[in-house]
């Protein structure tokens, strides 16, 4: 009994930081509609800044002062990021901002590494709260009790701010209808900035508060992001009490998970989320999202048409250059381009459902990594030959997509995105924690191609054929009735349903198709590398694909693979330098600001301006 209560207390204490970070994310999303991927980074910054301040400021007052200051400083950093990075891209297509926030993650990671160095920092203990108290014989750190006491105050303060003050009224109004708030004369820019300050300050506060428990390390940003998304979604987007409730549930669940089912701790949280969303599609205390709430900004998407002779010539030339690559370049380039082509197929598969179907998936790596693991497991345990494994990889990924798609497509918008994220994490934790079968962190190794394809050049041609074929198939699908039906479902579900189109089924098939193609890319990947590790299933991998699609241009047909080639190429070049994340992050931010329509979209615009491409008669 004592242990039971002690664990609940630990869970409640852990819930504090989680709640603060989650409520910040929820606020920012509610008002600005920006899914702030960088929120975990602000949490991490809070921990590091708090650490340094605690070194400088002595005593009890110094400790708590450091925590408050850390929150303020991170809030100010958030404001700088908002003004420099996000303001220029608010008018960009929906969700485009998340690419920018991804760039921010990379920049903050490297800056933190530069300033504080690579070693993990052990947080100082809170002065006066270093001991433990015994509750029914079980030790409970005093600091935990302090955290349990503090969190409700923060929550109530926040609740007061949101429900009882004028600023709070504006924030709530903006959450419901920001156009109307703008029309009533509220300066939206500063409202957005203010909310960003508050959200980031909360994240920083959370980071600093948990220092005595967890310290600071460079992996904090991603490790909390998953949990934060889960909390926000379970609680209901935009609901503060919901976020608190969910933070408590998840934290207690985690504590008990560690004790009673250590093999499943990572999975547990996501299983809970899936169950909650199956029963309550908008979270525990969330409200139904009003359709059309996310106003489409930017230019309307253009009609698609098959490429003209000039573009065809260009693509053919490119393909010929690629096909002849092994003749004029070395082994290194051949392997590199193989990787790039595989990544392009992966990105193109996501682009198909994102660009044509408007289905934003945060967990597409589930199918890439899933296909790779399927092939690797088949080779390891059933000695399956490569040829068969390359067929079964996409098939397994497709089967997984059928199941996952069925669950996820019950929700829409952000909730859909979060469900896909949950399934991605689910597969990742399965691969990570089910060590007996998947090798856990050590992965599966010695998965090589059949003898005939083991030469790099031969494998290059194999990958070339399958990747180019896959990308062309995806492109054909976009021009075929199926792609049109998918776009119809996105453009106007109402009209589509009223003209005989089963929109959910069309989306389900598209989800499965995209998953299958990602699985093919995964299969090719594993035979190219000879091994597979859980990080291919990570959320970061899903984000990579998402970033690439947005960078390439969502509203274009070639955005996926062009973005893929650009990103993977740039990454390969930049990773040779020490602070490559910083450079890549800045590069991403620059592309986002300079070309909010993505690479292909911007090139098309430029081409039209100088008269190289024909301007559509209706374009203004």
């Amino acid at each position: 009994m004592g242990l039971f209560i002690a664990q609940i207390l630990t869970g409640l204490a852990n819930a504090g930081a989680l709640f603060m970070v989650a409520s910040g994310l929820s606020l920012i999303f509610g008002v600005t509609r920006v899914v702030n991927f960088a929120h975990g980074s602000f949490y991490m910054l809070g921990a590091y800044v708090g650490y340094s301040l605690m070194q400088a400021l002595p005593g009890v007052a110094g400790f708590w002062g450091a925590i408050l200051l850390a929150g303020l400083i991170v809030g100010v950093i958030g404001v700088i990021v908002e003004i420099c990075v996000l303001r220029p891209v608010y008018r960009a297509p929906e969700l485009f901002q998340l690419v920018a926030t991804f760039g921010v993650i990379l920049v903050i990671q490297d800056l933190t590494l530069m300033i504080w160095g690579p070693q993990d920092l052990l947080g100082p203990r809170a002065p006066g709260l270093k001991g433990i108290i015994r509750i029914m014989g079980e030790p409970v750190p005093q600091y935990d009790i302090a955290l349990i006491a503090i969190t409700p105050f923060v929550a109530i303060g926040l609740w007061y701010l949101i429900t009882r003050t004028r600023v709070g009224t504006l924030v709530r109004a903006a959450t419901q209808d920001r156009e109307m708030v703008g029309a009533l004369g509220v300066n939206q820019s500063w409202l957005f900035t203010g909310v960003f300050f508050l959200g980031c300050a909360l994240a920083g506060l959370g980071g600093a508060l948990q220092l005595p428990k967890g310290g600071a390390d460079l992996l904090m940003d991603f490790s909390i992001l998953g949990a934060v998304f889960v909390v926000v979604v379970i609680g209901g987007m935009g609901s503060l009490p919901g976020a608190y409730l969910a933070a408590v549930i998840i934290s207690i669940l985690n504590v008990f998970g560690v004790t009673y089912a250590p093999q499943s701790t990572l999975v547990l949280m996501f299983v809970v989320m899936v169950v909650v969303l199956m029963i309550r599609p908008f979270g525990l205390l969330g409200k139904e999202e009003v359709a059309g709430e996310h106003g489409q900004t930017g230019e309307p998407e253009r009609p698609i048409k098959p490429a003209g002779p000039r573009i065809r010539l260009l693509v053919t030339t490119l393909l010929v250059i690629l096909a002849l690559l092994p003749l004029y370049s070395g082994n290194f380039a051949v392997v590199l381009v193989t990787d790039i082509m595989i990544f392009c197929l992966f990105a193109a598969s996501l682009h198909f459902m994102l660009g044509q179907g408007g289905l934003v998936s945060f967990g597409h790596a589930a199918f890439f990594g899933g296909g790779a693991y399927a092939a690797a497991l088949l080779v390891t345990y059933a000695s399956t030959p490569m040829e068969l494994a390359l067929v079964l990889a996409p098939v397994s990924a497709g089967l997984a997509a059928i199941v996952i798609g069925w669950v996820c497509l019950r929700s829409t918008g952000v909730y859909f995105a979060m469900l896909t994220l949950a399934f991605g994490q689910l597969l990742w934790s399965l691969a990570f924690q089910w060590g007996d079968v998947t090798g856990g962190d050590d992965g599966l190794v010695n998965i090589w191609p059949s003898a005939w394809a083991s030469d790099n050049t031969v494998y290059y041609y194999l990958a070339f054929t399958l990747c180019v074929g896959g990308i062309l198939l995806l492109r054909q699908a976009a021009h075929a009735p199926f792609g049109y039906a998918l776009r119809a479902a996105r453009d106007s579900t109402r009209q589509a349903e009223a003209t005989g189109i089963n929109t959910k089924r069309v989306q389900w098939v598209a989800f499965t198709f995209a998953g299958t193609m990602a699985g093919l890319a995964g299969g090719l990947f594993v035979f190219s590398k000879g091994s597979i590790f859980p990080n291919e299933l990570e959320t970061a991998r899903s984000f990579d694909a998402l970033i690439v699609v947005f960078l390439g241009g969502v509203k274009t047909l070639s955005g996926g693979w062009v973005g893929g080639a650009f990103f993977e190429g740039a990454k390969d070049y930049l990773t040779r330098f020490e602070y490559w994340r910083l450079t890549l992050g800045l590069l991403i931010i620059f592309v986002v600001i300079l070309g909010p329509e993505g690479i292909v979209g911007s090139l098309r615009k430029a081409g039209e301006r100088i008269g190289l491409l024909k301007t559509p008669e209706d374009a203004t």
Partner: protein, 259 residues
């Protein structure tokens, strides 16, 4: 001749509110039937039940003898019912003609085809439909740049794509300029005369209603209070009171209740 559409005792409650209360009517082949009534009378609720967006609390809707109440919109469409929306719903990322082609592709059940090019399928048929509504010259324009009146005409072409026997039009002229309104309803009247389609439409513009409908039904507070030819409705005292509004409305209702 048996009616195309036969509605019996159709009702729908939202909590304690009876949005549509025991509505019954028939629609004959080739008939242009108007459903009018003040704001909040239950016209849209009624429409949404006919088209499957909303499940009736009770009552039946028979389309050529088959009960379609509670069916999904896409099933009802496949049985030969076309519809246009109060606020236009078109595919903004496609061209005008592709919008029509999409409906034709769906009608011919080729939605999942991967082998053909969608923009080549049924193009001639789609162009012919656009010709009917006078939009052929704009066939290859981007749908997103069309004027609102043109979108309405495009929607009509889409609704006609699968040769429907019945057309449901929810405020077909809402948001259009006066001259355009007359033109659109004239067009609709001509098309149904040619093809023998029945039309049920709701409308706020009385000029449009009186100029084109064969028969008019008046809905107030969920109940049908009058039904008849243009002249009968025009001279119906109760209808006048409903439309002229004010305190007389409540008195009329009270009188009704006592009568």
């Amino acid at each position: 001749m048996s009616p195309i559409l036969s509605v019996r005792n159709l009702s729908r409650n939202f909590g304690a509110i009876k949005a549509v209360d025991d509505v019954s009517f028939d629609l004959a082949k080739g008939e242009l039937l108007a459903l009018i009534g003040p704001n909040g009378a239950g016209k849209s609720t009624c429409f949404n039940m006919l088209m499957g967006q909303l499940r009736p609390s009770s009552g039946t809707v028979q389309l050529m003898g088959k009960n379609i109440a509670g069916m999904q919109p896409r099933k009802i469409w496949r049985m030969g019912v076309g519809r246009t929306f109060q606020i236009t719903a078109t595919y903004v990322s496609m061209t005008v003609v592709e919008n029509v082609q999409m409906a034709l592709i769906s009608h011919h059940r080729r939605l999942y085809s991967l082998t053909s090019f969608a923009h080549k399928l049924y193009r001639d048929k789609a162009l012919a439909l656009l010709e009917t509504v006078g939009m052929a010259d704009q066939a290859d324009r981007h749908c997103a740049v069309l004027a609102y009146g043109d979108l309405k005409r495009l929607e009509l072409a889409v609704a006609l794509a699968h040769d429907p026997v019945l057309l449901l039009m929810d405020e077909p002229t809402a948001g259009m300029a006066p001259r355009e309104r007359i033109a659109l309803m004239q067009l609709t009247a001509d098309i149904l005369a040619q093809r023998g389609i029945s039309v049920l439409f709701t409308e706020h513009d009385m000029d449009v209603v009186f100029a084109h409908s064969h028969r008019i039904m008046v809905l107030n507070r969920g109940q049908l209070i009058a039904e008849g030819t243009v002249d009968e409705i025009r001279n119906n005292r109760q209808v006048q009171e409903v439309y002229l509004g004010g305190g007389t409305l409540f008195k009329a209702a009270e009188d009704d209740a006592h009568a």
